[in-house]
Symmetry: C2
Subunit: 436 residues, 2 copies
Amino acid sequence: MKPLKVAMLGCGVVGTEVATRILGNAADLEARIGAPLEISAVAVRDAGKDRPGIPSELLTTDTAAAIEGADIVVELMGGHEPARELILTALRSGASVVTANKALLASDYSELLAAAEDAEVRLEHEAAVAGAIPIIRPVVNSLAGDRITRVLGIVNGTTNYILDQMEKEGWDFDHALATAQELGYAEADPTADIGGHDAAAKAAILASLAFHTRVSIDDVHVEGITGVTADMVETASAQGFTIKLLAICETIEDSPAGPGVSARVYPALLPKDHALASVGGAFNAVFVEAEAAGSLMFYGQGAGGAPTASAVLGDIVSTARRKVLGGTGQARRSIGNRLPVLPISAIRTRYQITFDVFDRPGVLAQISQVFAEEGTSIELMQQTQLEPTDDDAPQRAKLVIATHSGTDAALAKTVERAVALDAVNELKSVLRIEGH
Amino acid sequence: MKPLKVAMLGCGVVGTEVATRILGNAADLEARIGAPLEISAVAVRDAGKDRPGIPSELLTTDTAAAIEGADIVVELMGGHEPARELILTALRSGASVVTANKALLASDYSELLAAAEDAEVRLEHEAAVAGAIPIIRPVVNSLAGDRITRVLGIVNGTTNYILDQMEKEGWDFDHALATAQELGYAEADPTADIGGHDAAAKAAILASLAFHTRVSIDDVHVEGITGVTADMVETASAQGFTIKLLAICETIEDSPAGPGVSARVYPALLPKDHALASVGGAFNAVFVEAEAAGSLMFYGQGAGGAPTASAVLGDIVSTARRKVLGGTGQARRSIGNRLPVLPISAIRTRYQITFDVFDRPGVLAQISQVFAEEGTSIELMQQTQLEPTDDDAPQRAKLVIATHSGTDAALAKTVERAVALDAVNELKSVLRIEGH
């Protein structure tokens, strides 16, 4: 059988790993595919730079020439343009595309998928969410006959490492971040990770696939972990919770805004006995709830050259197998506008609120009164005296309140009113409780 | 687009769930597939029996007529014959087949797969291993470009429930089994589960797919859990281990018998901090190690009507989507005779051996001497005095020895020689230590 031509766009850590594995495992891959894989070109910015393991004659700076005649185009450049244009060109030329570009998919997924369907070719992107963990294929295929109701994911290793170290070592955020940077778990500019934007891109892709509904990154409510303090981690732990940056995708039948889907990212309190709570270090895990399947969890390495390359290679091999069999088209993913995307205010959650209050008679009554008036039911209230800062200062206490479930809007309004009370010196933190 | 005809063979708990979901979610499924799914027949043993939710005109006892003209045949009868013949008939007639029949696949996988490839149709069986957990698709597709080195699975919920209860409640085996039977987790005849045969069937399928090598159930070394005592569970726990019935599939480069694959099932000691150790109750989990991907874990419900139906439906939908796109053929699974299957004697493992010894000077020296002569390195030795049964009886002790890694043959020989020593009153147990 004649070789299948693979053109690679971009050749950083992941690209080099992919290319050297294709070149080094040629016989195995041919046996698995039914035809040999041949790297026809590797498009890079600087073709003069030596890349160990990759024959220099494959290197080119001409992306258009690289795409031409390719059966499979592997896009590992990242970023929005020119990646988007190149992928569209490749799809229209009849090549299937494998990409790990989560940022692009999170904004332009429907357009790219439509282009693939029109051209009857495939667009695969297992590596774009949770690295080596096979999560796209289970959601798209294995659960295709089921109804997914919720996806809870730890999909950013950097923030998980930081939060994990804060809990285990008692470090503050800055120290944990600096250590993550030293160890290479966090980039020099960590904004995309710690701001939650990387997780939000993945949430958009997961929600689109799980709920057959167009969800772009702009639809995802995002809060990062920069506001998480050592004190918050300690309070959480004392109450049996661990703080995790969660990507949450849910279908909601009965929100005040009607039925819809929610996609959101924020640091949340997770009960320590939840399956996701023990996911430590830079690992990723995705917890899926489906009507018939029940709870499923997928766990593994969410980043890194080799794990990401494994996911890219899996996509290349399954696309190549399909080419060999003849049916090259994109399996239907039916992403439409099945349900509206709900605003954060309409979703139901639980709050853990920490106040710094003046420790005098009637304070709890006053605060409880506000909660009652707003219809926010209290599950737990815990008050601890604070050490006085000086003798003349009024005695203060730390008051932690965990609510029962309510809409985010109602809970936020309750907090806003409580903060305005004389009895409250300061609002220390608000965290949502998830995973029940 | 014209409807795709689905014929069902067998309609027990899983079949009923599959049929009612196809009938009840018709519009959703059509949107996901691109064509309507139509149940053309449901072949059952007794067509007169009323089956709520399934129109009686679909029921038939004529399996041949049910298969004829079907696009997809769903085999949920179980057992060897007539399931095997019917699947072969269906494949040869040009229908794709979805099955959950692990016993059949474990013995006749290569033949069935070859028939599917010859007929250019698909044979899908996600439900045959670990129920709702998508494990087949990740192994076959997601990791298709990687090299899987090891699969460790808890793939039988009944035995996991029993061992879990023995550890948590301190129950003995018989009481835990009886409770499992009362709760419906274990069958009236529990042999296939507690004897390890059900897990062995799954190990054969997983090893075949993971290592592209024909492994049948007869190649799998099987030990069940009937010999596990409350005392063994307690000893394990005290040393930081939990006992799990593991299905282990490995590639081994350097066994005494040369390179090969191993597929085996036995109760093993797993360190309590291993990801599989916390898989409790009737849940299943599969831990996969691959060269590039690193460690991955898949967790969920391994049995039950709805979870199994979810996996069957996923297979039906992805097969149907493929039909709509035209390329109906079976993606290449390339199961050949790439590597020999190694006997248990050639695989490397670690032993935890518990002896009942006479407590007198020189006993440890004598036993250590045997281990040294056999080249079996001791990692840990722990001796505890036993309460004397009567005043005249010689003082005895419980001696627990954990070895470093060695071939199973060498470890077994060491135990055999040690047992023959005068100092040893009785061999209490031998368990392998896995997960390092």
